[in-house]
């Protein structure tokens, strides 16, 4: 630890001393090598639906608030719907957004977003690569049913100190890496934090001051609120030898939103005026803490072993307290409060082996044991003091599930013939909770036919089970949501997917991918109770209704790369349906049933000092449930009005199509100390398309002139949709310094 602290200190010194002047060249070469490797690896992969992104590509793309984002990048991929604008939704091949396996260095993460989904939890400064699977899942992955996002962080440099320092409009981050013991032990640390308080605190100070000046001491309202999130990553790697290394990975991320509103009011008794404060205090807090120890050992040239022990904790807290003052008693006589907390803790041990007995067989096998704890609780309090009879009423609803999830897998990547490769695997999973055991066997298969030097044909089949259920009563990504296990009542979610694709490098500058898929999902669960912000903790098993889903579609990707320009064009044609018998007797569209999706991206490296980025995104509007029919009555004047509405089918209304244009500029320069610095200007939603976040149906009105000659409005008797867009044009700028 002492060495680590010294190393971090040295790295910070390096920031101001020009210690890493040679790094820029090294990075450039490294990035070029990574890109070349990526092309080779993509061709070599047997799986369909695999997207590989290396960290340099992630950091090069468009960055809202100067913060590159893994989830936002994945949302652009074909076959993926992003859901609500700016949120970190990832709806893959018709999935429900909670069925993606997010792995950070092999360890599952439950909460992957900050700021209600505006930023994802992954710091791209430390990201080595991301393997994103939409289909053709290898047997080594399991536990979620729609996709796998396998994020690997970089080891720190074993040779020299360097890093990145970035300032955005609302957040900043620093990443530092270097040796603790040269050639033996390295560290890579990243810190990120918002400073929205820098804006909110002065603004609220001014508001409160103005209120104080207007109304005086004890009579002015007060508002205090500040939002911030922070996260840190640390990776310490020690090489016992070139074949034997141990890594410690730590990740912690947390969002905090405390808010207090104090409202002054007065009452007069016997001619005496009394003033006091009612107050509302709220607190939202959510995040992850993760620690893992990873040991990688090349036992022989043909056998490689990787073992990881980890603990991952997800914590959500939301609370509110209302206090009211009383002039004839104590200052505060009435309190009412509610806290909802949800903790999900996973402790696991996994061992993976890679064995290559002969060139034609690449065998992987391994096992995973996880202990999981699910502990949501709701606590409420009502108390009255200072009255004739003091009252205290409090209660607590909580449940605790403890579960074991174990799995074993084996897969073999077989070179059957020079033109035929196969990846065959099977995964067995056992989930035990409260005496109920769920045993599942998941076959996986991928085939790749090589069609000449430049083209491949691939097919895959996979089955996935998911034993964790996200319990949410709304589509808002709030910390009220919690995770619950499969139980005797709630079955594991299950998906079955077949996919096929054609992949070709049509020219040295053009790579084309054409894929299609068909996927079914069983035992999906949706909330079927009355409106609630907090999920029902003790009755969730009965208030969630079971259903099915299916999705199919085709996607095309065109990736072009010239000397100074790279461009990608992605198109998806898809259908996504749901069938919940309690909702509707037949299949109906999923809310993310976006028929068409187009993403056009381009980077132009105008000169070594100037880059341009443009991205245009389009998809058919999301669906929502709206009344399709109305039964009208008439009032005593004979005027018709809507007596009640009829919802003939869920998700019957299509919202307006979504589209937006993003632009970005990077100005690079070299500082006097030889560091690369970049000024970034990004404009999100350039033409300010107010894409609908939510909508409702309302009466349509028309203008008319009254007999008296005055302009007025009156209902036409028809209805019209009213959409609410929240995200206008957002220009941001930022500064990044590599050292």
């Amino acid at each position: 630890m002492k060495r680590l602290i010294i190393s971090i200190g040295l790295a910070l010194c390096a920031l101001f001393s020009g210690f890493g002047q040679e790094v820029e060249r090294t990075d450039t070469l490294r990035e070029a090598r990574i890109v070349a490797d990526r092309v080779r690896r993509d061709r070599a992969a047997t799986q369909t639906g695999l997207q590989r992104l290396d960290g340099s590509i992630l950091r090069r793309g468009f960055a809202l608030f100067n913060t590159p984002d893994i989830i936002k990048t994945l949302q652009m991929m074909p076959g993926v719907a992003g859901g609500t604008e700016l949120m970190s939704g990832l709806y893959v091949h018709g999935g429900d957004g909670t069925d993606n396996l997010f792995l950070l260095d092999g360890v599952p993460l439950y909460q992957v977003s900050h700021l209600v989904g505006l930023f994802s939890s992954f710091n791209t400064d430390l990201t080595e690569e991301v393997n994103f699977y939409k289909s053709g899942f290898p047997a080594r992955y399991g536990g979620r049913m729609s996709s796998v996002v396998d994020v690997r962080t970089r080891e720190g440099s074993f040779q020299e100190y360097h890093g990145t320092f970035a300032l955005g409009l609302i957040d900043g981050r620093i990443q530092v890496e270097g040796p603790i013991v040269k050639d033996r032990t390295s560290f890579n640390i990243g810190l990120r934090r918002t400073w929205s308080e820098v804006v909110s605190i002065p603004v609220l100070y001014y508001v409160n001051k103005k209120e104080f000046e207007d109304n005086g001491e004890g009579k002015s309202d007060k508002v205090n609120a500040s939002y911030n999130f922070s996260d840190f990553n640390l990776k310490v790697t020690h090489k016992f030898s070139n074949d034997n290394r141990l890594s410690l990975n730590l990740y912690g991320g947390e969002d905090r939103l405390p808010i207090t509103v104090k409202t002054a009011s007065s009452t007069t008794d016997a001619g005496v005026e009394h003033w006091g404060y009612d107050s509302v205090r709220g607190r939202l807090q959510w995040g992850n803490i993760l620690a893992s120890l990873n040991w990688q050992y090349d036992i022989t040239d043909k056998l490689y072993l990787e073992t990881t022990a980890y603990r991952s904790k997800n914590k959500n807290i939301i609370g509110a307290r209302l206090s009211m003052w009383d002039w004839d008693g104590k200052d505060v006589y009435y309190n009412i409060g509610e806290d909802v907390r949800a903790h999900t803790v996973t402790t696991g041990l996994t061992a993976n082996a890679y064995f290559k007995p002969v060139e034609a067989h690449h065998i992987r096998f391994g096992a995973l044991v996880q202990h999981k704890g699910y502990a949501p609780e709701r606590e409420y309090l009502t108390e009255s003091v200072g009255r004739s009879s003091d009252l205290k009423f409090s209660g607590k609803n909580d449940v605790l599930f403890k579960a074991w999830e174990s799995s074993i897998y084996a897969e073999d990547e077989i070179s059957v013939l020079p033109w035929l490769k196969a990846n065959l695997g099977v995964r067995g999973a056992l989930f035990s909770v409260n005496g109920k055991n769920w045993a599942k066997l998941e076959p996986r298969a991928s085939l790749m036919f090589r069609l000449g030097d430049n083209s491949d044909l691939k097919f895959s089949y996979s089955e996935m089970n998911q034993f964790d259920h996200s319990v949410a009563t709304t589509y808002l990504d709030l910390p009220t949501n919690t995770w619950m296990p499969s139980t005797a009542v709630v079955k594991p979610m299950f998906s079955r997917q077949i996919a096929g694709g054609f992949y070709t490098t049509a020219a040295s500058w053009l790579k084309i991918t054409l894929e299609g898929w068909y996927k079914t999902m069983d035992h999906l669960y949706e909330y079927g109770g009355p409106m609630a912000i907090y999920p029902p903790i003790d009755s969730w098993e009965t208030l969630f209704t079971e259903g099915r889903g299916k999705s199919w579609g085709a996607e095309a990707g065109f990736e072009m790369e010239w000397e100074k320009v790279t461009a990608q064009a992605y198109y998806t044609l898809s259908w996504s349906l749901r069938k919940f018998d309690d909702f509707y007797f037949d299949w109906y569209p999923d809310r993310n049933d976006n028929r068409h999706k187009i993403d056009l991206l381009a980077n132009w490296y105008v000169s070594p000092r100037f880059e341009l980025y443009a991205g245009w995104h389009y998809h058919t509007g999301n669906k929502m449930t709206a009344a399709s029919y109305v039964v009208k009555g008439v009032d005593d004047q004979g005027t018709p009005f809507a007596r009640f509405e009829i919802y003939d089918r869920p998700n019957s209304l299509k919202l307006p199509d979504y589209h937006r244009l993003d632009l970005g500029l990077n100005f690079k320069r070299t500082t006097r100390r030889g560091h690369e610095s970049t000024w970034n200007l990004s404009i999100y939603n350039v033409y300010c398309r107010m894409n609908a976040v939510f909508a409702h149906i309302t009466d349509e009105y028309e203008d008319y002139i009254t007999p008296e000659g005055y302009p007025n409005t009156r209902p036409t008797g028809r209805s019209i949709g009213e959409a609410f867009g929240l995200i206008p044009i957002i220009p941001t700028f930022g500064y990044t310094l590599k050292f």
């Binding site: 009502t382 949706e526 399709s628 109305v630 009032d635 509405e645 919202l655 300010c688 959409a723």
Partner: protein
């Protein structure tokens, strides 16, 4: 510079643009359909309410031009008549009358005028347990609709246990003691596949005796509300079949024989060991003294007096077996009304249910069994 100015204006225009806007309801241009509600099996007279469900984008005549109505009971055609609404009573104020026990009265007078414009039909043909019903309605220019349903068998009430209880109620900044009746109703042959309903009709007489010797007496009848107090268990999942959503037809005393008011429905799977347990939200029998304040018209001073209140209440228990269609229709409507977030697309989809082929509404059935009237026990001391 020429290029910059329009560009800057464009950006400013976008920034200042409104964040809500209107759009056409794509996919919701629908032809009108018939909306039919008929709840059979619980009374001598069966009503059929026939409305026009219009696409939300549609305008025009709101009433269907009904050509024919066919209701068959076990294959036999029933005689159908158009229902003519009688004149409203003089004092339709929440069922309070100075007469003897009166039927429940309408919520508001204006509902009467709306009802007058409804297409209500009826038959007096007897409908009993296990009868098979089929309904077909034709209207000019609209798709014909049909539905079928089976009347469930009556419930056998084995025992009723009523326990007076007292609880502390906190109503924001005031807490007080409240007494209530806790029910434990045993019923036979509960099936988890079936649906049940419960309702508590009450008759109450309030006698007010003032200091000055005046005596006022009020009788009223109503249906008790049922609430789910902590620990009452089984009725946590109860579905209250009344609510603002429903066409006021069922809340109207003229045709209340549907038995819909304050009817609580519950799946049989939630009834444990044949015991239907629930609490009423009030007490039907009590005695007390209250202070009265009147202003003396001559002096303008407050006159403080007292009034002794003697409330004598009776109740009975009605238990129903309801058809799955009736349950699902009510639950769907209730969920829609209770989930505003879903109506703006921020919560999971709301329910939709109908068993009217080609249209909307419900052909529901239910049969009820009633206990005799019981005197409410004396209210416990608080």
């Amino acid at each position: 510079m020429k290029l910059r100015i329009p560009f800057i204006l464009l950006i400013l225009g976008c920034c200042l643009s409104s964040c809500d806007y209107y759009f056409d309801l794509e996919g919701l241009d629908r032809d009108s359909k018939l909306y039919v509600q008929c709840i059979a099996g619980n009374s001598d007279r069966t009503f059929i309410n026939i409305q026009k469900a219009m696409g939300v984008n549609s305008s025009g005549d709101i009433m269907p031009d009904v050509e024919s109505i066919s209701l068959k009971v076990n294959g036999r055609e029933c005689a159908i008549e158009k229902f003519v609404l009688p004149d409203p009573p003089e004092n339709p104020y929440y069922g309070v009358t100075k007469t003897s026990v009166a039927p429940p009265l309408p919520w508001e007078l204006e509902e009467y005028y709306t009802l007058k414009r409804y297409n209500i039909w009826y038959t007096d043909a007897p409908i009993k347990d296990s009868d098979e019903l089929s309904l077909e309605v034709k209207a000019k220019g609209m798709e014909s609709v049909s539905a079928s349903a089976r009347v469930p068998q009556k419930v056998v009430i084995q025992d009723v246990k009523v326990t007076p209880k007292v609880t502390t109620v906190t109503d924001f900044d005031v807490s007080y003691k409240e007494s209530y009746l806790s029910f434990d109703v045993s019923i036979a042959d509960v099936s988890p596949e079936e649906y049940y309903g419960v309702r508590i009709p009450i008759e109450v007489n309030n006698t007010y005796t003032y200091d000055d010797g005046r005596v006022e007496s009020y009788n009223y009848s109503a249906y008790a509300g049922i609430i789910n107090r902590t620990g009452s268990g089984v009725l946590d999942e109860v579905q209250n079949a009344t609510g603002d959503w429903t066409p006021s037809l069922y809340n109207n005393y003229f045709i209340d024989s549907f038995g819909r008011r304050n009817l609580y429905i519950i799946p049989g799977s939630r009834i444990k060991d044949g015991h239907l347990q629930f609490d009423c939200n009030g007490y039907f029998s009590s005695q007390g003294i209250s202070e009265t304040r009147d202003i003396d018209p001559e002096t303008g001073e407050w006159i403080i007096g007292h009034v002794s209140i003697n409330t004598i209440g009776r109740y009975k228990v009605e238990v129903f077996r309801v058809s799955p269609e009736f349950y699902r229709f009510n639950k769907a409507q209730s969920m829609i009304e209770d989930n505003y977030l879903a109506t703006v697309g921020l919560s999971p989809s709301t329910f939709s249910y109908t068993n009217i082929k080609g249209g909307f509404g419900v052909l529901g059935t239910l049969t009820g069994t009633s206990t005799p009237w019981y005197q409410a026990p004396a209210e416990p001391e608080q």
